[in-house]
Point group: C2
Amino acid sequence: MHDSRNRPYHHGDLRRALIQTALDMLHEDRHWQFTLREVARRAGVSHAAPYKHFPDKAALLSELAMLGFDQLRDALLAKKPRKPGGVREELLAIMRAYIRFGADHPGLYKLMYSTEAGGAVPLSERALGAYSVLLDALTRGQKSGELRKRSLRGQAAACWAEVHGIAMLLIDGWFLPEQIGTHGIDNALSSVLEGLEA
Amino acid sequence: MHDSRNRPYHHGDLRRALIQTALDMLHEDRHWQFTLREVARRAGVSHAAPYKHFPDKAALLSELAMLGFDQLRDALLAKKPRKPGGVREELLAIMRAYIRFGADHPGLYKLMYSTEAGGAVPLSERALGAYSVLLDALTRGQKSGELRKRSLRGQAAACWAEVHGIAMLLIDGWFLPEQIGTHGIDNALSSVLEGLEA
DNA sequence: ACCTGAACACCGTTCAAGT
DNA sequence: ACCTGAACACCGTTCAAGT
């Protein structure tokens, strides 16, 4: 009962197709409350087919979250100024890129941080990839004397919480972009950075 | 088919009982993914009974979120230092109380900020109650000259995002309390405040 | 006025059976 | 090896019927 022209019984790469379909839905809906059956439907397979590639729905969500952290790391690395410049500029660029990633991928971003979704082990290897971009910049800042030589973890926590907070508030509509704007966000980021500077 | 001794057919105050039961479950489970049927079960009524008091599940969640913001406002007001003191001490106390509220009521806190849950209008009247505690302190700080005379909204955004970020990261297990600790959190808060000071 | 029980259209998940 | 279709135990929601 399948269309033998362009839908063979064996899908070929259903695992990848399911992931891509889910990513599309994550982007359309701005949240991760989609059903596994709907993903299967859009991928053109029966609702039982996904279970041959993922043990359960949580496993698919977890996979998506890990891919999200990879994308986030890449987004942060891409925004690193190529010219030497000050560490402050670099940190600002990283934090802006972080917030933009959240605003651009609301569903995926919320999934990445939701324990209900995947039971992803906090600070798993994949999340550390993105985190270490921030940590590296702070380390350089302390070495060059631009930042106070305080606990790296504390400084990282301050930056991370600020960008995570801004991203979440933006995504959930608490910061109206036309009210707070890029200007207001930059002010908030500057406040945090000034507190770290020597 | 009901127990006529202590469970009359007419519950009496089922609406309040449903809210209290849901609050209990929110506290037990650390998230708001409970079922309405389970709330009804624990309240000792049929799964259809809640619909006589709330149009749908979202309405109950919305009610819980609004009560949460009231509680948050009370928690912030309770922590205001009674003696004059500096605005910095006052802001620190407010921010610490905010984070503690989130850590102490993880399920309720996440519900309050989740758009998926209630479709609660962002910055509704009830949320403004808590927000204005922060805004008032910042206003006093600008008037007394302790804080730079910049955009109030920007300063509030910086503080709010920081405490919201810390609360969310704590709740979801990204900040291990034994690793970051009260010390690390205070450092993060100080970084933000120093950026606001004149 | 307030609550129940059956019913409907969904889920996530399992499993024998098909190709 | 990979997918389907029926089945099970759940949901949220509705509605006629009971008290």
